[in-house]
């Protein structure tokens, strides 16, 4: 199965669940920003959850299918048209040879995933097909999609079940993002900490897969904003000397030398993935126990939300 990129959209990359395990070589994990959405899209087309798909950002691509295929779009609410007719997100969508799929603008949320039955077949680099554009790794020649790229799907089993998923993903800008305090909460004044948990932050347009920058009144450090560089995780909220927080994303640096006021819990990373420039968001502190039970709830919800249509 081959598809042709007629136009790539604002920023469309190939992503799977990433390449964790290479931080000691300075390579970030990359992978889908909204992992439950990627996994759901794959399940709808009969792929393994970790299969590579397209991550679409704010404005989607126009894709011509040279061969028949089955696809699914899951994530932020996009306008999707097949040969000019509106079609549903969140369900298995058979596509005829010669058809054109248009993914328009995101009406709510920021990112969606277009999974193709058989997965998108580019060479795996360090165990993953995920695009890490700043490092030129993964995807088509280490970059985002461009016009006239041809993408091929891998082999797929002959039987295809038609499935649908309740839209569990998407952004809710009024929902507070849960975060575990620290690891350097003591590097901030008591007033700054109070402010951090009370502020409505605005998402800066200077945000990308490496980090989401937040606009606010600067947060004051108790001492230095710098520390001996240490390993960081996706979701870490680092606050450099200017006092403006950055939520690190999957393409962020593997180690960092700025103090971190909090760390977004794994279950709420999709909320960060779906926040658009200009959206506001708040953080609410939770302990590790609650963070871990939130993750288990989210996993259960993901699998319970999938229905067979036949």
């Amino acid at each position: 199965m081959t598809m042709r990129v007629v136009s790539p959209g604002a920023f469309t990359t190939i992503q799977d669940l990433g390449r964790p395990g290479w931080a000691s070589s300075g390579v970030p994990p990359s992978g889908a920003m909204d992992q439950p959405a990627l996994r759901a899209a794959n399940l709808l087309v009969g792929n393994a959850e970790s299969t590579a798909a397209l991550e679409i950002t704010l404005n989607g691509p126009l894709i011509e299918f040279v061969d028949a295929a089955a696809v699914a779009v899951v994530g932020a609410l996009f306008e999707v048209e097949l040969d000019g007719e509106p079609v549903f997100m969140n369900e298995t969508l058979p596509v005829q040879a010669g058809s054109v799929l248009r993914i328009g603008k995101a009406r709510a949320g920021c990112r969606a995933y277009l999974a193709v039955r058989g997965g998108i077949d580019v060479p795996a680099v360090l165990g993953s097909r995920s695009t890490y554009a700043p490092g030129g790794i993964g995807g088509p020649r280490g970059r985002a999609l461009q016009t006239h790229d041809f993408l091929r799907a891998g082999p797929a089993a002959s039987h295809l079940a038609m499935r649908r998923i309740k839209p569990i993903v998407g952004s809710n800008p009024t929902e507070a993002v849960r975060a575990v305090p620290g690891p350097q909460e003591n590097a901030f004044t008591a007033r700054a900490l109070e402010k951090f948990w009370a502020t409505e932050f605005r998402v800066s347009p200077r945000s990308d897969r490496a980090g989401m920058r937040l606009e606010c009144e600067p947060l004051a450090h108790a001492g230095s904003a710098d520390l001996d560089p240490e390993g960081v995780v996706t979701g870490a909220v680092q606050v450099p000397g200017d006092g403006l927080p950055i939520v690190l994303g999957p393409d962020g640096p593997a180690t960092g030398g700025y103090v971190k006021i909090a760390t977004v819990i794994t279950a709420d990373l999709p909320v960060i993935a779906q926040a658009r420039p200009g959206d506001t968001l708040r953080f609410v502190p939770v302990d590790v126990e609650r963070a871990r039970s939130a993750w288990r709830d989210r996993e259960r919800a993901l699998f319970e939300s999938i229905e067979e249509l036949e």
């Binding site: 964790p20 395990g21 290479w22 931080a23 000691s24 070589s25 300075g26 390579v27 994990p29 680099v125 360090l126 700043p134 490092g135 030129g136 790794i137 975060a179 575990v180 620290g182 690891p183 001996d228 560089p229 240490e230 390993g231 960081v232 995780v233 979701g235 870490a236 640096p253 593997a254 180690t255 960092g256 971190k260 760390t263 977004v264 819990i265 794994t266 279950a267 590790v288 963070a291 871990r292 993750w295 288990r296 996993e299």
Partner: protein, 213 residues
């Protein structure tokens, strides 16, 4: 037993080492990392050394194993068998277009450019950790007399192979990236190749010497 680690978010554990000298702290961190890596636990996604820390990243939902917590809580550890890393010689062209900040480093250090180059070559460096960009080594052991602060305004593009000084660290830019370190020379050695295993030429614990070419 005292708990010497803390949670980072809901799936990572951070152990920092308080030894006064960062070289000692780093040696302890790398030894600790080696012990965790040796367990080869499927639930551990990554074990990331920092200057004076180790971060254990677990798969989502995984519980930290007792073995790992025991290693993180261990107080003293034997770091004497610490010459496990490999030795590297990095040939460098110093000054001129290859090292546009050599004169500034000399001025800030109150040394001649030749003395800066000599001090840079005299040290045996240890790769403390890799970060900032794929394959970028943070080298410990810089002669304090040539430690110089980063540029106020980072360069938009640092040429690949640039050899620099950032505060008390020496380093090498593997690829063209923005960067704020002061550049004193350049090497042709390829520091990062994603098709190689490991992809980074230098690994934490390796030793590095710079030689003029």
């Amino acid at each position: 037993m005292t708990q010497r680690w803390r949670w980072v978010g809901d799936r990572a554990l951070l152990r920092t080492f308080a030894e006064v000298d960062v070289i000692d702290a780093n040696r302890a961190a790398l030894a600790c990392r080696g012990e965790v890596v040796a367990l080869a636990l499927p639930d551990v996604e990554d074990v990331v050394p920092g200057a004076r820390s180790v971060l254990i990243v677990m798969r989502p939902g995984a519980e930290p194993s007792g073995d790992v917590l025991e290693i993180l809580d261990a107080d003293a550890r034997d770091t004497r068998s610490g010459r496990a890393g490999r030795d590297h010689q990095i040939p460098v062209r110093y000054g001129g277009d290859d090292g546009p900040d050599l004169a500034d480093v000399a001025r800030l250090s109150k040394l001649s450019p030749a003395q800066v180059v000599a001090a840079h070559q005299a040290a045996e460096y240890v790769v403390g950790f890799i970060g900032f960009a794929p394959g970028f080594p943070y080298l410990l052991g810089l002669d304090p007399s040539i430690a110089t602060p980063r540029l106020e305004t980072p360069r938009v593009r640092v040429p690949p192979g640039s050899v620099g000084i950032g505060g008390g660290y020496a380093g090498i830019y593997p690829a063209a990236t923005p960067g704020g370190w002061r550049l004193i020379g350049r090497t042709d050695v390829a520091l990062f190749d994603p098709l190689r295993d490991p992809p980074a030429l230098l690994s934490p614990g390796d030793r590095v010497r710079f030689v003029a070419r």
